[in-house]
Each structure stands twice: as structure tokens, then as C-alpha cells.
């Protein structure tokens, strides 16, 4: 099943800076084609995690694999990464800087103009990197990740330093790349960004994984219903065939349900009644990323 194909597998990764634990026992899995968000406040270990995954830092313990292989320079070539503020040779033109990227990735210079156009820097291709504004530098960083058309993009705070228009553009670019089939792993502390772009998310705080899963289940502002009935097994039976349920999860004595778009709790209640089931309890929870996030981070 293509859904199950993992491009990244992280097992019990830990890293400390002297006495400070940057990440501890982090385990995550990213499937092919996913847009995976790593969400957390500043200092939660996002950049440390991505730095280890891209080979800049060594972990203290734990392991990870890309494409099921041991990480190496060769696997890094299949990944387009941008960690923190992108660094380029300040005295060289954008074009020349991207040529170095292409030479490292051994992929030829053909897609450089296209990549520069994608981030709207084509007109500045002859300018020196040092003459760029912060937002432009960030965009060139994203352009560099696209050189050689890698299978995976690793982006650390990709909209950092951009103005609202730039943020929207970068977001659009990420969505386009995802639509083209790329796997994207993105760190961010901006809730709305993850909510709009990602379909899976891991939430970090102080280097500890608080929660991980489907963004729709975990985060999206959709109605989450908790329902109960006297006969739990009947409840499960009936709800299994319900056409307007997006996701069901068993919880204690009841079910947690996410409705498909356009359906309301009344519809569910009516459906249950028609099938001969009387719901004893319906609790509607409006869960947004914000509440979920704050709730998790407070714990």
C-alpha cells in the first residue's frame, strides 16, 4: 500500500546540549506523499530534530532512516533541505549559488531558471546574494531545496521573515509541491500555517513528543463529537456504516467521531434513531489547533 510506504523513520532520537535536553526519545514516522508538520514553541527541539535528520548534528542516541536506508550524503542528495536561515556565498550571484547546489546534487543546471521563477527571483538571478532582503534570502533557500527535483523537502520555518504576501506565496508553493507528489516535512511554530498546509502533525514541547497524528483529527476546526449509547456494541455496529462519518475512534464507553464536511450533529442523531439506536449522550467539541496546541503545551 503506497499509504504505508515510509520515507522517514525516527526511533528514540535524543540530543542534549550539555545539561539541556533538546530532544528526548523522539519517534516519528513519515509516509510518502505526506505534508508532515513539526509544531512547537520556540526551543521545543524542532530545529535540532531537523538538523540531525539533515546531517548537521549528530544525535546522542537513537536512530533514523531515510527511504529505509542508513542516512548518508547520498540520501541527503535526494532531500531538499532548508534549516534555519539559509546560508549562501554572499559574494556570488543567485544563479551561481544555485549552480553550486546543483553541482553538489549532481543534477545539471537546467532547472535553475525554473526554480528561480517559482520563487519569483528570476529577475534578480544576477544579483549577489548579499544584496537580497531577508524575505528574498528565505525564498532563495526554498529555491535551493527545489534544485534537482528531490523527492522530499525538509523546511524549517519556511515562512520566517516573510511579509504576508510572501507567506501566502510560500504556502502556495508548498501546497503545489505537495500536490506534485513530494513528501514535505516542515517545522513551524505558527499554528495556522500547519493547519493550512499539513496533513499530519507532530507536536513537540521541550523536546518531547506530545502528540502525533492526522491534522484533521488532531487539529482542524471541525466538530468532534463524543457519543455514547446504552449498548456500546450496537453503537459501534451502527456507526461503522454511517456515510457521513470521516473518522471514528473508540474511547472508553463511547465513540469519538469526526463528521464529514457539511454534516451536523443532528444528522448523526437522526441516522442513529432511524437505525433503532438511541444516543444517550452527544457532546460537541470544537477543537481547533490553537486549543489543542495550548492544551497540550500546558500539560
Amino acid at each position: 500500500m503506497p499509504d504505508k510506504e515510509l520515507v522517514l523513520q525516527v526511533k528514540n532520537l535524543s540530543k542534549s546540549y550539555r545539561s539541556i535536553k533538546a530532544i528526548s526519545n523522539l519517534s516519528i514516522e513519515v509516509g510518502r506523499g505526506k505534508v508532515y508538520g513539526i509544531l512547537g514553541p520556540n526551543g521545543s527541539g524542532k530545529t535540532t530534530t531537523l538538523s540531525i535528520l539533515t546531517g548537521i548534528l549528530e544525535q546522542d542516541s537513537g536512530s533514523f532512516s531515510w527511504f529505509g536506508e542508513e542516512p548518508s550524503a547520498a540520501t541527503r542528495k535526494r532531500i531538499g533541505s532548508m534549516i534555519e536561515t539559509p546560508a549562501f556565498f554572499p559574494y556570488m550571484s543567485l544563479e551561481n549559488n544555485l549552480r553550486i547546489v546543483a553541482q553538489i546534487k549532481e543534477c545539471g543546471f537546467d532547472d535553475i531558471p525554473e526554480v528561480l521563477k517559482a520563487v519569483k527571483l528570476y529577475d534578480r538571478r544576477k544579483s549577489r546574494f548579499s544584496t537580497l532582503s531577508l524575505g528574498m534570502k528565505q525564498r532563495l533557500g526554498i529555491a535551493a531545496t527545489l534544485v534537482g527535483n528531490p523527492e522530499i523537502l525538509v523546511l524549517d520555518e519556511p515562512t520566517n521573515g516573510l511579509d504576508p504576501e510572501g507567506i501566502a506565496e510560500v504556502r502556495e508553493l508548498i501546497i503545489q509541491q505537495a500536490a506534485a507528489g513530494k513528501t514535505i516535512i516542515m517545522a513551524s511554530h505558527i499554528l495556522s500555517e500547519v493547519e493550512k498546509v499539513c496533513n499530519e502533525v507532530a507536536i513537540l514541547k521541550n523536546g518531547i513528543l506530545l502528540s502525533q497524528g492526522d491534522v484533521r483529527a488532531l487539529i482542524k476546526g471541525e466538530s468532534i463529537l463524543e457519543i455514547k449509547a446504552a449498548n456500546t456494541s450496537l453503537l459501534i455496529e451502527v456507526m461503522k456504516d454511517c456515510p457521513f462519518i470521516a473518522k471514528t475512534e473508540k474511547e472508553n464507553s463511547g465513540l469519538t467521531i469526526i463528521l464529514k464536511e457539511g454534516f451536523a450533529p443532528e444528522d448523526l442523531n437522526r441516522y442513529a434513531f432511524e437505525k433503532g439506536l438511541v444516543l444517550s449522550e452527544i457532546i460537541v467539541r470544537q477543537k481547533s489547533l490553537e486549543t489543542q496546541f495550548l492544551q497540550l503545551v500546558k500539560e
Binding site: 548534528l57 550524503a73 541527503r76 546560508a87 556565498f89 559574494y91 549552480r99 553538489i104 549532481e106 535551493a144
Partner: protein, 276 residues
């Protein structure tokens, strides 16, 4: 390897201070060889012409070139520390180079600079020799050209020092000062306080000895002998003033050991260092 060479060339040749310094090095070297000695050497009975003739010209040009080594070492320090400042070492790792690749890139740079110097010295020596020598034979021309190979090793060693210092300190000014302090103050002081027999075993001694300086005194003496009757009293004055040190093969072996140590330490730093 070719890939790393291409990347290093693109990085280096596009760096304007590099171009300026290399041009400056070139101009000053030519100036140093062909103009400065003519100004200073105006003594009676003494001619510096033999310095420009085969085979002495090889010693002379390599000796002159050694005064300019420091500028190339500082250039290496500058280029390496820039990569730390601009965080481009880290960025190249992210793009897919290995830590070993980063070191190999820099070694390529050192080899290219050493190659540049021996080409420059080679051309200068042959040109000058052909112009000024009275007698030109094939063996006379190439008799001492082995010195170019030694020069290559010597410059490469010094540049390795520069590389290691910049990897340790990451800062252009600190690395430069520490290097100069080591070369000019620290090592000489330690050396002077050592028994005579240990002195040839210091890096700047055995590396410097790879390219013997022109035997100016004995050349002058032989000149005086032929020009005047009173010059022939002290035939081994030169040998007394410039002790021979170790045999050449020992210098070479010590230098190769030194290069291995310098590069191993550099590799160790590249492997251990967190590039964040």
C-alpha cells in the same frame, strides 16, 4: 573529486578578494625577483648576476617565493574562515556533501595554490636563466629543478598549517595572529632553548630546509676569487654561517609525517565539529 574541484573553483574564483590577492601576489613576486635585488646589491666586487643564471636561479626564485608564502597562508585562512562566517560549510552539508568532502575540497584548494606557485617559480626561473646565463645546456637548466617538487611540498605543508589553524579558531583574525605568533615567536623561542641537536626537528626548520636558500656567500666568494686576490681566505665561511641541518631525505620524511598529522587533525575536527 572532479565535482569537488569544480565546486571549489566556482567558490574561489568568484571571490573578488581572492582574485585581487592572487594578482597582487603575482605582481609582487615578479617585482621581488627582478627589481628589488638590483636596488640593494651595489657593492664593489659583488655581482648578483649568478643568482639569475642557471643553476643558482632555481634556489634564488624559490627563496624569494618563500617570502610570499605568508600571503597565501593568510588567503587560505581567509577562505576557510569565510565558510564558517557565512555558514556555508553547514549549508553544503545540508545540500549533500559529506564532512570528508568538505575537507577534500579544501585540500584541493591547497594543492591548486601550491601548483600555482611552482608554475610561477618554474616560469620565472627558466625565463631568467635563459636571459642571463652565459652557458646554457639541458643539464645545466634542469640540474636543480627538483627544487620545484620540494617547493610544492613545502608550500602545501604551510597551507595545511593555515587550514588547521582556521578550523581550530574559525576566525580569520585569531587564526592569522596565532599562526604568525607560532611561526615568528613561539616556535623560535622554544627552538632557541633547545639543545642544538633538537633544533632541526622543528617544523619551520625542516620544512624551510626543503628549499635550500641560494648560497650567496660562496657565490660572492667565488666571485671575489676571480675578481681580486684577497678573497680566498675562508672557503667554508658559508658552511659555517648556514649549518646544513638534516639530510634532505630526512627533511622530506619529517615533512610527510607533519602533513599527515596536520590533515588527520583537520579531518578529526571536520568529523567532530557541529556545524550549527
Amino acid at each position: 573529486m572532479i565535482k569537488l574541484l569544480k565546486i571549489e573553483l566556482r567558490k574561489t574564483l568568484n571571490y573578488i578578494p581572492f582574485r585581487i590577492l592572487i594578482i597582487l601576489h603575482f605582481v609582487l613576486f615578479i617585482f621581488g625577483i627582478f627589481f628589488i635585488p638590483r636596488v640593494n646589491f651595489n657593492f664593489p666586487f659583488v655581482t648578483i648576476l649568478p643568482l639569475y643564471q642557471f643553476p643558482h636561479v632555481w634556489n634564488f626564485t624559490t627563496w624569494i617565493s618563500s617570502f610570499y608564502n605568508i600571503s597565501l597562508i593568510l588567503l587560505v585562512i581567509m577562505l576557510t574562515c569565510n565558510e564558517f562566517n557565512n555558514k556555508t560549510f553547514k549549508q553544503q552539508l545540508i545540500f549533500g556533501l559529506s564532512r570528508r568532502d568538505l575537507l577534500v575540497q579544501k585540500i584541493i584548494l591547497l594543492l591548486l595554490l601550491s601548483l600555482y606557485v611552482i608554475i610561477l617559480v618554474g616560469i620565472a626561473s627558466i625565463t631568467s636563466g635563459l636571459i642571463y646565463s652565459y652557458k646554457i645546456t639541458f643539464s645545466l637548466i634542469f640540474d636543480r629543478s627538483w627544487i620545484l617538487a620540494n617547493l610544492f611540498i613545502q608550500i602545501f605543508t604551510y597551507l595545511c598549517f593555515g587550514l588547521l589553524f582556521s578550523l581550530i579558531f574559525r576566525n580569520m583574525i585569531v587564526s592569522g595572529i596565532v599562526f604568525l605568533a607560532y611561526r615568528v615567536i613561539i616556535e623560535p623561542i622554544i627552538r632557541v632553548n633547545m639543545p642544538e641537536s633538537f633544533r632541526p626537528y622543528f617544523p619551520s626548520k625542516f620544512v624551510t630546509k626543503l628549499t635550500p636558500s641560494p648560497d650567496i656567500l660562496s657565490m660572492i666568494q667565488s666571485n671575489m676569487q676571480s675578481n681580486g686576490p684577497n678573497g680566498a681566505n675562508k672557503p667554508d665561511a658559508a658552511a659555517a654561517l648556514f649549518p646544513q641541518g638534516l639530510p634532505m631525505w630526512e627533511n622530506l620524511i619529517l615533512t610527510f609525517i607533519l602533513i599527515t598529522v596536520l590533515l588527520s587533525l583537520s579531518m578529526w575536527i571536520f568529523r567532530k565539529r557541529a556545524f550549527n
